[in-house]
Amino acid sequence: MKALFFILIFVVIATAFWQFFKLLGLFKKEQVASEKENNINGWLMLGLGGFIYGLMLYSMIQGKVVLLPMLSASTEGEHIDNLFIITMGLIFVVQFITQFLIYYFTFKYRGVKGKKATFYADSHKLEMWWTITPTVVLSVLIIYGLWTWNNVQDLSNAENPLIIEVYAKQFQWEARYAGEDNQLGIGNVRFIKGINTMGVDMSDLSSADDIPVRELYLPKGRKVIFKFRSQDVLHSAYMPHFRAQINCVPGMITSFGFTPSVTTLEMRDNEDTKAKFDAINELRVERGDDAVEFDYLLLCNKICGSSHYNMQMKVTVVEEEDFNSWLKEQKTLAQVINQ
């Protein structure tokens, strides 16, 4: 009923507008732009151009503090960041020039009575230039982009990688380390039973030494290869600080790899991180929430149901020896299940 009430209010407002327009006589006058209106709108368009520039600059300066730390937490991510900076630079140059031309021309050539426009319909030379220039620039971007992509995606020649399975389900993450043999036991939803929540086939010889966990620990400087499975719907494993993302697809194993290069403690000391967390904590304290410290995160980035927005797992990067001693303390799957 309340909805009807709101709709009624809209109708009343609309009717009021109607009467108002009638009074103003907006509909009676000449409806083609006059010289005066060309002039006003020409100036306003120049202003709109200014507004867009202002918004860009303001967002770039004020927006910088909210961004992810500029420091990539993985070695592979550094190439992605370089490519990103080059592409962004290019975008800003092109954006600044083209927007200037659009709004400046609109202002400069705003209609004047009796003025003649220049009949200028084609120029092969110009057309050639603005076909060739983007082609050359894009070739560079494409080549660098493909090189980076292959570099990130190629997991074939990693030396002694750490293998971890990340398992997604509505609405939480689980994980299992491959254990001593560095091989994951086979998993399938048909093996899910009781405490064996990831559906690991315990008759597979590689399964017993696997280590199930609820939080990820990663060693700095060693390549980690993740294998992803999903139990129910699509999920996406997104670790923004490592520049890493891949979907988890039911019925299929996907993989992604990177070498962590910054420990959690080191990242907490990073200037960008500090600035961002200072700002965050200021807001939190103001609201009466507890202050927080930086932690790496794995979050779900593919809509997976009603609690999709809160599907996360903490990731901690530590020095390799700390990692090894942490891993030793964890119980293997055989221990957990036979408990």
């Binding site: 907006l26 209106e37 709108n41 368009m45 918004l55 967002s59 954006q95 021309f105 961002k276 927005y309």
Partner: protein, 589 residues
């Protein structure tokens, strides 16, 4: 045919009309109705994103049990974003835009009495109406509307256990889309046949206005790609109701293993995006065609690089069908495939750049008549560039990894296709309103509409890039679960304020539109002093478009400000309509 006047009843004239002009208006009004719902939904979910913990009476009033206590539930939020996307992409910017302007302009600009098949055209509209109504009804079903995102990826969309919106709401969504696709195919086939066969004498393909080129190519990509979505929708229906396993495999949900085996959701993604990407251009190309026409007319200058424009439309259309994989870089498909799609995707930047530069050169040294339609067209070129440039990041597989499915994507596509196409649509309505209703729209309200809309469009979508670069995923009901997103809240508030202002500004447009139909100033035959054939038709709508013979065409549509050897304007005016024969000593361009 024009002499053959049979008596029209109310029903045959206004409801089951076979006249392309009436059908165009029906498409426009239906599209506007759906647009109001789509935009209103976006205002509601923007409230949720900016003020996640506050309650609003308006939310409680409109969302019922999904908004109890004034706060919307996650399921309601996902439903709203899903239906907002579906409505805006398909019902407003595909049917509302193409359906309106292809129907209105194709016969009028090529010099035809009507569409090749008026009957199919009527069926096409009524199928669209039916699908709109089914989609509208699906909002109100008690298990909730479809809410798996407008891309409806299975298994989420296939299993009612996974999400309550995947019950009846999703079935209705699929039924509505299947009917929509049938409507779109009938329309597209009609457009293609009409353009190819019914052009008036002298209307060579190389004399067609760019609007017609855009509509023709759009219809061709529609015919090529929409059937693939139909197959995806049907297979998904089979998986849902007949227990097949096209897209499903190895699923354990709510304590039980489901029987599905051997299917793959990735297959659905391929089928979906095989339409989904060309769809972007199905939306955008008509808008680009409209702006070409409006900018040239109001700049009093020929469009720069007419042939290059046609070439780039064709290049974009061709490339658009082989780039769908760039929506799937992180799905786990073979990285080599990712490389190929990166290559083809970035190539699209070339014809797009050519188009952008051609528009800018058209403005150069013009005598710009800044009518509302012109402002929207220039605004469209601006948002097309701003939004298009970030495509260089998203189309590059390596860079896409870290921004995929974040708010950065949302900002990108809203600017490059949402806002650009909407601006193109507004430009079209302001420009051809006199042709549709024989009245003029108020320019003052048009200006007001443009200024508020343009500023809020940038105010909404420019800052949104930054929250995306901060790693904020799209489709998060609330950002409060992650402390790292706490500092984005104030940006979200700015965005929401602009979104609400921008949304309300559309009421100015609606008021202007409907008031002008009734009370607008009477239009003259050629108010914008344009060259194309529709302005040679009488203001009053007659069945068959022209009294007497259809005009013959002798030149292209862009002879604006053409001068003779002495530098004087030909015929003493700055435009020469297409039906004026080439004069002595004049060279055809």
């Amino acid at each position: 045919m024009s002499d053959h006047h049979h008596k029209e009843t109310f029903v045959t004239k206004y409801i089951f009309s076979q006249d392309h002009k009436m059908i165009a208006k029906q498409y426009l009004i239906t599209g506007m109705f759906m647009g109001v719902i789509g935009v209103f939904m976006s205002m509601l979910f923007r409230l949720q994103l900016a003020y996640p913990e506050q309650s609003f009476t308006i939310i409680e009033a409109f969302l019922g049990k999904g908004g109890e206590g004034g706060q919307m539930t996650p399921d309601m939020y996902y439903g709203l974003v899903t239906i907002h996307g579906t409505i805006m992409v398909f019902f407003v910017l595909t049917a509302g835009l193409s359906g309106t302007f292809s129907n209105l302009l194709i016969p009028l600009q090529i010099g035809a009495r009507d569409m090749a098949s008026g009957f199919l055209n009527m069926i096409s509209y009524w199928l669209f109406f039916l699908s709109s109504m089914i989609m509208f009804i699906s909002i109100f079903v008690h298990t909730g509307m479809a809410s798996a995102g407008w891309t409806v990826y299975p298994p989420l969309s296939a299993l009612p256990q996974a999400m309550s919106g995947s019950g009846l709401g999703m079935t209705l969504w699929l039924a509505s889309m299947a009917i929509f696709i049938a409507s779109s195919l009938l329309g597209s086939l009609n457009y293609i046949v009409t353009v190819l066969n019914l052009r008036t004498k002298g209307m060579k393909m190389t004399r067609l206005p760019l609007t017609i080129w855009a509509f023709l190519i759009t219809a061709i990509i529609g015919v090529v790609s929409f059937p693939v979505l139909l197959s995806a929708a049907l297979l998904l229906l089979f998986d849902r109701s007949l227990g097949t396993s096209f897209f499903l495999s190895d699923i354990f949900i709510q304590g039980e293993v489901l029987h599905y085996k051997g299917g793959s959701p990735i297959l659905f993604e391929h089928l979906f995006w095989f339409l989904g990407h060309p769809e972007v251009y199905i939306i955008l190309l008509p808008a680009l065609g409209i702006t070409s026409e409006v900018i040239s007319t109001n700049a009093r200058k020929p469009i720069f690089g007419y042939r290059a424009m046609i070439g780039s439309i064709m290049a974009i259309a061709f490339l658009s069908t082989i780039v769908w994989g760039h929506h799937m870089f992180v799905t786990g498909m073979n990285p080599f495939l990712g490389s190929v799609f990166t290559f083809t995707t970035l190539l699209i930047a070339i014809p797009s750049a050519v188009k952008a530069f051609n528009y800018i050169t058209t403005l150069w040294k013009g005598n710009l008549q800044l009518n509302p339609a012109m402002l929207f067209s220039i605004g469209m070129v601006s948002t097309f560039i701003t939004g298009g440039l970030t495509g260089l990041i998203l189309g590059d597989s390596a860079l896409d990894i870290n921004v995929h499915d974040t708010m950065f994507v949302v900002a990108h596509f809203h600017l490059v296709m949402g806002i650009s196409a909407l601006f193109g649509m507004f430009a079209g309505v302001y420009h051809w309103f006199p042709k549709m209703y024989g009245k003029m729209m108020s320019k003052d309200l048009g200006y007001l509409h443009f200024w508020i809309t343009a500023i809020s469009a940038y105010g909404v979508f420019f800052p949104m890039h930054f929250i995306g670069l901060a790693g904020l995923p799209r489709r998060y009901y609330s950002n409060t679960a992650f402390p790292i997103f706490d500092d984005l809240l104030h940006i979200n508030k700015v965005i929401t304020v602009f979104a609400i202002i921008g949304g309300l500004a559309q009421l100015i447009f609606l008021a202007n539109f409907f008031f002008s139909i009734r009370k607008g100033k009477k239009a003259v035959q050629n108010p914008w002093r344009g060259n194309s054939l529709e302005w040679t038709a009488p203001v009053k709508h007659i069945h068959g478009n022209w009294d007497g013979d259809i005009p013959e065409v002798h030149r292209w549509a862009y002879d604006y400000s053409k001068v003779d050897d002495n530098g004087d304007l030909w015929g003493g005016q700055d435009f020469t309509p297409q039906n004026i024969p080439i004069r002595d000593g004049e060279e055809e361009f």
